[in-house]
Assembly symmetry: C2
């Protein structure tokens, strides 16, 4: 395999003009080039299964009459692979998976189909020979006819590509379509179009730009991607076919939403988000107006975030070999929302909900938990914590907050015990507001293998719960979340009459301050300039800064905002920096 | 401030040839240039305190007759600062700290002293204006006379500098010494000398190369650094003055060990490791043989690793505002070693050791724990776990491993409870072998804010314990660790008659496999080629791969090997990659 793009081979590699057996095309579109975008959900590390996934979807594309099928970034290895990229044995396995695809296409009589896919490559650049690259590969006629190594390696936010890859420096343009209607397609990978002056084909050099992506979801990103693609389409004078991964991978969710924009920036086709999908689009003859394909509607923001979390959760469960989850049900809104999401992800019958009342639990809490479990069809259990709590109090003096933490930790131990015996994945139900200010008990309510709403702030938790209920009503179903879980004042119920607002500012205010400080990384001065009360600002900032150690030990959960805790926001634990009061500019 | 090096200003900035008041120099060395390497321990984020630390050590250097004092990489901000580099408010504070140094030197009459130090800079390169840089600053005569931005940004292993900095591209050479004996000194930062063809001054251009470092400890690194510096000295035809940070910062330990090598590669002076130190060395006149300064001995490997851990632990405790620690004492070797390290770090009287016997604890375990506590002068307590364990068993059915985990989790809860009430930092006592294969209970023995021996494998744990005892005997002290804790077969004592070897290969074998698979990232084939039993290899690799989720939630602890778990080895949790059996090459 060579890294240099071999467009000439791609042309010569086209042996005949004959059509595949399953190619139902009408004569009037015979000179169009049919493009298929295969929005699929591979699993990191599962290279042979990913190769089979590619073969399966390539076959589907051929059946739909496609001349070319485009797969996402690193579809053969899964994405992101982190330091697996540095292992020789893994690189050899990726090579083997590519052979499996090439041979499998030939064996299935799909030699004429052009297949473009992403995988782990090895650089051939002088001085960088053999080092890993993020590669696009073009397969046709039973061989690799061109390769392209990603030029721009993102190394910000959640990305560490400069750590594991070396960049390519050669462009790639391949020819596609029948001999009498050849069209030229440029190939680039994800970040390459996010950088101004990136490696686009010069104006007039290509009719189509193929972009392989592993673009993680965050709210509002669909619009940003389309605007960007429209800009690059105008720069290259070519339509842009943008294919994205779909599915959950640790703390990332890929939302799919693959699309095609014309050279004039018009949206011509779009796949739905959060599902595997084969999007078809016909590149017309020169001078012919491009056909508009199917354009899936954009989701409303609350639905989009909700489905992103469900996708992340479902992916984590399935790809890690779990079939069920367990979580504590307090009767409060956070655990109710997570339970509803879990039921949507894997079915209510695979969700164990445990009510763990204490002497401080109100009656409505138990009722609301039971009501929720019934609505969702959960495997519902009640396990009072008092006997264990009293056993600790009998041996140790644990007053105040220590006693509150004790209750949360007994609950965590119960969930872990059930998980150890029955094999369920434990879900932590903390939200982003709590995680930000450390309003949780480490080894207590923070236990779990996955934390679905860790990037959803409390204000959004309410909004998602309301959206989910409304969606159920619109569909004629029973709303899953009891109304009183949504409307009652939040309380940890670890002390008599306790309310969250005893310790924290009201959530609508807290979440605004957090949005400015955490997601927009504003300093104290900027916060005050926005009109926030200095006392609130100082209190919130101090809480956030001091909670870093807790966040380090928190389970992973899906990023849905522009800046999530975790790999997106990396700060030392040992860190005496505090936003100065009276910052000297 | 400008990024371009202004060596001409450095010359003009030298106003007089008069000496500082505290400069006790003899006439015979008047034309030598005295260099001081200030090996200091700043704290990340504590910019004003770090500025004061620089002023204090600059004053000491002047008192010792130094013409130039060299501080480590990013001494003003602490290192590594991670995403703090991206905050405007932090960058402004770093600027303020630099002003504090410049003004403070002038106010103390140290205007003639050349001070070279590291801090956060802002690029002036076209297209990169204002973006953060890893900067060296040269101060003299009450002003910044030159700046240098690190060219090579490490982005592998524990380093993420490409994420937060942009590189510089201008060299920096400044003049130092009295007017009649001016010498030229090049300035570079850490990674710049690790890259072949890095920005060294051309042969003959400088008499001295000043290297500012934040080089984390790992075993054997002292020798590697010195060989490298000797090579660069030969290439530049100049002596190399290498100053390093000292102290703990989260999962890194800086060992100091600053040194000077002559142009011929000879080691001329070396500071001791793991302590703050001012190393003095006189750059002789041209043509004069360089003087040999004080050369601190290199530590024996076990002592070096032991002291690295103690330094990391002491730094974490102090810089995070703790005064004491608490840990469980099982009578086994891991907790005994950690207790001894903690006593060495902060004094035995500040260490709470809790024996938490169960029905499965052997009598010798309690005796050994008590004996250890007495030898170390710990605050020793005994808290049986049976009442809490029975309370759980009375409510839940937790057989087998679930029951074993329960015991470990009750112990974790006891330690957290004591910590919550009394304010101690909880130490996790797991070693690297256990962490590798997941032989620990999450939320049980894995609880803690810091895990001192997480990068020390079991074989090394025994070696360090033996070394510590022998060192005590050599010093005429009581050996801190009971002999039976060292010699008895390892057991978690969570089930009757349990031994670690029931679940794991013998540690001497396990540790060899782990060394090859984890630290040297070898594949299964390489392991088999080394002659390991395939069954052992497959078992160990499967355990390591499946334990990633546990490691993610483990507390930080000091890196002492070439490859530590954590930021040094980044792998997905969701990861179906398993080393193939019969890897096709």
């Amino acid at each position: 395999m060579r890294t240099v793009c071999r467009a000439d081979r791609a042309v010569r590699g086209r042996r005949t003009d004959s059509r595949g057996a399953h190619r139902p095309r009408v004569a009037s579109v015979a000179t169009m080039v049919r493009i298929a975008l295969a929005q699929v959900d591979p699993c990191v590390g599962d290279v042979d299964a990913n190769a089979d996934l590619v073969l399966e979807w390539a076959t589907r594309a051929a059946r739909e009459g496609a001349d070319l099928v485009l797969f996402p970034e690193m579809v053969l290895t899964g994405y992101p692979i982190e330091d697996l990229a540095l292992r020789d044995s893994f690189a050899r396995a990726a090579d083997g998976a590519l052979r499996r695809v090439v041979d499998g296409l030939a064996a299935q009589g799909l030699g004429d189909l052009v297949v473009v896919l992403g995988t782990l490559g090895r650089s051939t650049r002088p001085g960088l020979e053999g080092r890993p690259t993020n590669r696009a590969v073009v397969v046709r006629g039973g061989e690799v006819v061109a390769t392209y190594d990603k030029h721009h390696l993102p190394n910000y936010g959640v990305f560490d590509e400069y750590r594991i890859f070396v960049p390519g420096d050669a462009p790639c343009v391949v020819e596609v379509g029948p001999d009498h209607a050849r069209r030229r397609a440029g190939v680039v990978v994800c970040e390459d179009i996010w950088v101004d002056g990136g490696p686009l084909p010069p104006m007039g050099d290509a009719d189509l730009l193929l972009v392989l992506n592993g673009s993680p979801y965050e709210e509002g990103k669909v619009g940003v991607r389309q605007e960007l693609a429209a800009r690059r389409a105008a720069e290259a004078g070519a339509a842009v076919a943008y294919v994205n991964l779909v599915g959950g991978q640790d703390d990332l969710v890929f939302d799919g939403g693959s699309f095609v924009v014309g050279a004039d920036g018009t949206l011509l086709a779009r796949a739905p988000q959060f599902v595997e999908h084969l999007l078809l689009w016909d590149l017309p003859d020169d001078g012919t107006a491009p056909a508009r394909g199917r354009v899936a509607p954009v989701l409303e923001p609350d639905e989009e975030v909700y489905r992103a979390v469900v996708t992340g959760l479902a992916g984590y469960v399935r790809k890690n070999g779990f079939r069920s989850v367990v979580l504590g049900l307090s009767g409060g809104i956070d655990s109710a929302l997570v339970a509803a999401m879990a039921a949507d992800a894997i079915g209510g019958e695979n969700v164990v909900g445990v009510s763990m009342p204490s002497r401080h639990s109100s009656e409505h809490s138990e009722d609301d938990a039971a009501d929720l479990a019934k609505r969702l069809g959960l495997d519902y259990r009640v396990q009072p914590i008092e006997p264990m709590v009293q056993a600790f109090h009998g041996e140790l003096d644990l007053p105040g907050v220590a006693g509150e933490n004790l209750q949360a930790r007994v609950r965590g131990m119960i969930l872990m015990g059930i998980s150890n015996v029955e094999g369920h994945l434990v879900l932590a139900t903390g939200n982003k507001s709590e995680l930000a200010v450390g309003y949780s008990t480490i080894y207590g309510d923070a236990v779990g293998g996955f934390a679905p709403i860790k990037d959803v702030d409390k204000s959004r938790v309410w909004a998602l719960a309301r959206w989910r209920n409304e969606a159920a009503i619109a569909a004629g179903d029973i709303p899953p979340i009891p109304e009183s879980s949504i409307t009652k004042p939040p309380s940890a119920e670890l002390a008599p009459g306790q309310k969250d607002t005893d310790s924290l500012p009201p959530y609508h205010l807290l979440d605004q301050v957090l949005d400015a400080y955490v997601e927009h990384a504003e300093g104290r001065d900027e916060l005050l300039a926005r009109g926030f009360d200095p006392e609130v600002v100082d209190r919130v900032l101090a809480l956030v800064d001091r909670a870093e150690w807790k966040r380090r030990q928190y389970p992973p959960g899906p990023k849905v905002t522009a800046l999530a805790f975790g790999r997106d926001r990396r700060l030392p634990v040992t860190n005496r920096w505090r936003e100065p009061k009276g910052d000297p500019r």
